[in-house]
Every structure is written in structure tokens, then in C-alpha cells.
């Protein structure tokens, strides 16, 4: 009887081994049913950070840039902003930069120099992206 049980036990073990998935693909757990698992979240290389431009004390008498991207709502939004700026700060000046290339970073396009020159002339800038 004992011999039979040993043989039977060995047979069960053999069958189980034959059906066990090979290798570690199936994320074998530890003997205590625990998994030690790796993070999927990527590392990033630190990039140089820049502060934002100093603010002006008032918009009165200032040159305010209005940047509109290619989306259809951007220019009407800037028109609405401009209208209110003129109402509240009549001596302010506005200048529209109309970006027509779809989904681009303006400073990475052929308009880079034009954009930089425009931005340099502004005391403050409002950007509208139409979304």
C-alpha cells in the first residue's frame, strides 16, 4: 500500500510538472504566495527648468501679446480677451501672434525666430489654445 502511494504520488508529481508552465513567464510567486514586482513607471532624465517671466504691476500702458494656436476657437477667444483689455486698460496695446501650423511647438518650427522676436516685444502674453 505504501509502495502504491509513493508511485501514485510520483505520478501526480510527474503530471503536474508536465503541465507546469515553463520558465518565469507566468510570474512564479514565492513559496509564500507573494510576488515581488518591478515598477513599470519610467525614469526621466532631469531637464533644465526655467522660471516664468516676471509679472508686470499693471496692464495699463503695457503691450500685451495674444497668442492663438491653429484651433478655430483660439482667435475668437483672443478677440474677446482683447475687447475686455481695451475696455479696462484703454491705453494698453495688443499684438496677435497667429500660429497656423497644427499641433506644433512654435519654438520648434521655422517660425521660431519670428515668434521669439514677437515675444521679446511683449510685456505680458496670454496664450489661447482653442481647447
Amino acid at each position: 500500500m505504501r509502495k502504491f502511494m509513493i508511485i501514485a504520488g510520483a505520478a501526480v508529481f510527474t503530471v503536474a510538472a508536465a503541465h507546469a508552465p515553463s520558465g518565469a513567464f507566468f510570474a512564479e510567486e514565492g513559496a509564500d504566495g507573494q510576488y515581488e514586482v518591478l515598477s513599470p513607471w519610467a525614469e526621466v532624465d532631469p531637464i533644465p527648468l526655467r522660471g516664468i517671466s516676471p509679472r508686470v504691476e499693471t496692464l495699463a500702458g503695457k503691450k500685451i501679446g495674444l497668442f492663438a494656436n491653429f484651433k478655430r476657437a483660439a482667435r475668437p477667444i483672443q478677440a474677446a480677451v482683447e475687447k475686455r483689455l481695451k475696455e479696462r486698460f484703454p491705453d494698453s496695446e495688443t499684438s496677435l501672434f497667429d500660429s497656423r501650423l497644427p499641433n506644433v511647438t512654435e519654438t520648434e518650427t521655422e517660425n521660431k525666430d519670428k515668434f521669439a522676436a514677437w515675444a521679446k516685444e511683449m510685456d505680458a502674453v496670454v496664450a489661447a489654445v482653442g481647447d
Binding site: 525614469e43 527648468l49 475668437p76 475686455r84
Partner: protein, 404 residues
């Protein structure tokens, strides 16, 4: 300062941080995205105009003046727990896609990396918007989570190279409100070696390769690129194809040369071709002769960019009546009702024709958008030196269905 629809404030902050300016002041408005309603715009600006003025005049904080670099070094081992605990931990961290994951243990990840000769720390690409480093190990972690096999690694490495190629305009499609999903078309011998389904129901669930490769890529985009749904990935309606959209061309049943050969690769090479559709449509031809099939393909209205999927039976009918693939494309260009996004007529570069699927009468269209300087991108799939051993290990991992 930046004005954006209030649902895009997080997205704007993430984008600014990714460009090295985390302090950019962002103001959310109630104005509908791409609004064409003047009253909506006027009232939306009225509601925030005082805040606009404040954003331009309120003195800067120290952090806004001189933001500090936060060097993030996530621990390699993220968690220890049982299967359920691991799944709940990953879900709560925002690292899963809602379905259970395979725990990415060090052993499982090591086995996954047998699918490439590249070292674990090799950076395949940096993925926007977070510019996360897609190392071989991180790709493998996400692949294990998705249930992929080590034999899928070569496709994933090539797919990461492909989606991050500037010509795909991934920067537009990855996080767009349009909910575009990466479509991977696999060509060459690897299709058979890793059991990519090219035939019946190829775009339906049921095959590890088609399911897990696309799922892994989705996790890679999320966890390495940092494009999280509703935070950076601003797809308005979403797209079930973001779970997976992987197809092999049915080269064995096609009368024409496969797509990758059209693109200059050898038939013996394996490739992945990528673009980002958000529309999948199917139809049947009014007539099943060659003219009827061609009319229906043109009638599906492929725009720029599109993939027309022709089933083997229809391809054979076309071929037997003398239609080459080029003639089919020329006919479509001449007769399709759609125009491309640039406003011009379709051109040969605007769409591809591939043979896939099984018995039946349906034809398919996957459609993206052109006009962004985007194009199809094809990358060669490089297999590791142990390829025969590796594929041998998994060659019998296929479903077998009982007849009832």
C-alpha cells in the same frame, strides 16, 4: 499665462513641465473646446477676465521664479504582495489598464528580456509627453503586465521605435481628443513564428500575440510616456482599440506582394507598420466580381491616412480579373469620394491596401487623419540570436478548440 478649457488644465501643466517650465500659469475656462458660439466665448472670458489680469500681474512665487529640479528615481521593486494585492496596488497607482495584470516579477521580466539581445538599460526611445526612458527593462515590465511572451519583445521594441519616429506625429495622436489608437501591422516571417493572427477574426480577442502586443504598447505609452487617460491623454470619447489593434497581413493567401515589400523591405524581413486610426468600419460589396469589390473599396471613402483591409477572397477575385494592387489603388484614387485633410485628392501615400482576414464577404477601413505632416512608418523587427530556441519554447502555446 495660458487659457484652456477647464478639462485641460492638468494636461497643460504636464505639457509645460515636460518643456521645463512647470510654473506656467494656466487658467481653466468654461468655453467649449473649439467653440464656434460667440456667446459661449464671451461669457467664458467674462467669467475669468479678473483671473487673467491677476495671472499677468500677481508677483511670482519663489518656485515660479526658480523651479527646483525634482530628480525622481523610482524604486526598482515597486511592491510585494499576493496576486490580488499586486493587482490592486498597480490599479491604484494608475499603472494598469483596468484589466488584471500579470505580476512583473524580476524572473518574469528577465525571461521577457530574452526576446532581445539589447541590454536591460538600453534606451530605445524617450516617450512623450513625460519623456520617460523606454529602456528594454521598462518595456519588458509592461510587456509582462500585458501577458505578452518573450517572443513578442522584438515587435514591441520595433513598435516603440516606430511610434516615436517623428514622421508618425505621435505628439499629435498620442494624447489628442480624437482618441487615435496605435495600429500595428505586422509583416514577414515573424507573423507565423509568434502566431500573429492574420486570418479569421484577426482583430477580435483570442490570440496572445494580437492581444498582448497591443495591450503592452498601451501600457508602455501610459507608464513610460506618462500619457494617462483624462490627465494627459485627452481622448474625448476614448477608443476600445487602445486596448489593442494589431493585425498581421495574410501574406500566404494574398495574390499581391505584401506591404513591407511595397515599402522596400525584403519578403524575408519582418516589419511593423504604424499609424493612428480612430475609425474602423466594415462593409460588403454590392457585387462580388472585381469591379464590385473595387467600387466598394473606393466607396468606403479612404482619406488620409487610411488602411483598406481586403479579405483574401476579394484579393483573389481582383487578381484573377487582372487587377494588380497598384491598379486597385489607382482606381480608388480616381473614384473615392473623400479628399485628404490637405484638401487635395487622395494620393498613393495617403492610404495602404493590405490583405487580411478569413472567409466571408466583408472589407474593412481603418482611418486616421492626415495634414499634420504625418505618414505611415515601417520599422524592421530585429530578432535575438536565440530566436529559434525562444520560438521553439512557445511554439505550442496556441489555443485548441473542441468541436461540439
Amino acid at each position: 499665462m495660458l487659457l484652456a478649457n477647464r478639462g485641460f488644465v492638468n494636461d497643460a501643466h504636464s505639457a509645460a513641465s515636460g518643456k521645463g517650465m512647470p510654473g506656467v500659469r494656466v487658467l481653466g475656462t468654461s468655453i467649449a473646446c473649439e467653440s464656434t458660439v460667440a456667446a459661449d466665448i464671451e461669457s467664458g472670458i467674462d467669467a475669468v477676465f479678473d483671473d487673467i489680469v491677476a495671472a499677468l500681474t500677481k508677483p511670482l512665487t519663489d518656485e515660479e521664479k526658480s523651479p527646483q529640479i525634482k530628480t525622481e528615481k523610482p524604486p526598482r521593486i515597486a511592491f510585494t504582495g499576493n496576486y490580488t494585492e499586486v493587482n490592486r496596488f498597480y490599479y491604484r497607482k494608475g499603472w494598469s489598464d483596468g484589466l488584471p495584470i500579470t505580476p512583473p516579477s524580476p524572473d518574469a521580466v528577465a525571461e521577457m528580456m530574452q526576446g532581445t539581445d539589447l541590454p536591460a538599460n538600453h534606451v530605445v526611445a524617450k516617450i512623450i509627453p513625460r519623456m520617460g526612458k523606454a529602456t528594454i527593462e521598462k518595456i519588458a515590465v509592461n510587456a509582462v503586465m500585458a501577458g505578452a511572451l518573450p517572443t513578442h519583445m522584438p515587435v514591441l521594441v520595433a513598435a516603440v521605435e516606430a511610434i516615436t519616429d517623428a514622421k508618425t506625429r505621435f505628439d499629435t495622436f498620442e494624447v489628442s481628443t480624437g482618441s487615435w489608437a496605435p495600429f500595428l501591422l505586422i509583416n514577414g516571417p515573424i507573423r507565423k513564428e509568434i502566431h500573429i493572427n492574420c486570418s479569421s477574426g484577426a482583430l477580435s480577442p483570442g490570440n496572445i500575440a494580437n492581444a498582448a502586443i497591443g495591450r503592452a504598447l498601451g501600457l508602455i505609452v501610459k507608464n513610460i510616456g506618462g500619457a494617462r487617460k483624462g490627465i494627459e491623454d485627452m481622448g474625448t470619447l476614448g477608443n476600445p482599440a487602445k486596448y489593442t489593434l494589431v493585425l498581421g497581413e495574410n501574406e500566404e493567401e494574398s495574390p499581391w506582394q505584401p506591404l513591407h515589400v511595397d515599402f522596400g523591405f525584403s519578403k524575408k524581413e519582418s516589419t511593423v507598420t504604424v499609424f493612428f486610426p480612430n475609425r474602423y468600419a466594415q462593409t460588403i460589396p454590392a457585387q462580388t466580381n472585381a469591379q464590385g469589390v473595387a467600387d466598394s473599396l473606393a466607396g468606403m471613402g479612404p482619406g488620409s491616412l487610411s488602411c483598406l483591409i481586403v479579405i483574401p477572397d476579394h484579393a483573389r477575385i481582383l487578381s484573377s480579373e487582372g487587377w494588380s494592387k497598384k491598379q486597385v489603388k489607382d482606381f480608388i484614387i480616381k473614384n473615392a469620394h473623400s479628399r485628404n485633410r490637405r484638401g487635395g485628392l487622395l494620393s498613393d501615400e495617403d492610404f495602404i491596401v493590405v490583405v487580411a482576414g478569413g472567409p466571408g464577404v466583408w472589407m474593412g477601413l481603418l482611418q486616421s487623419a492626415g495634414g499634420f505632416g504625418n505618414s505611415f512608418v515601417t520599422k524592421k523587427i530585429e530578432v535575438p540570436s536565440n530566436w529559434d530556441t525562444l520560438t521553439g519554447k512557445y511554439k505550442n502555446l496556441v489555443p485548441s478548440y473542441v468541436r461540439y
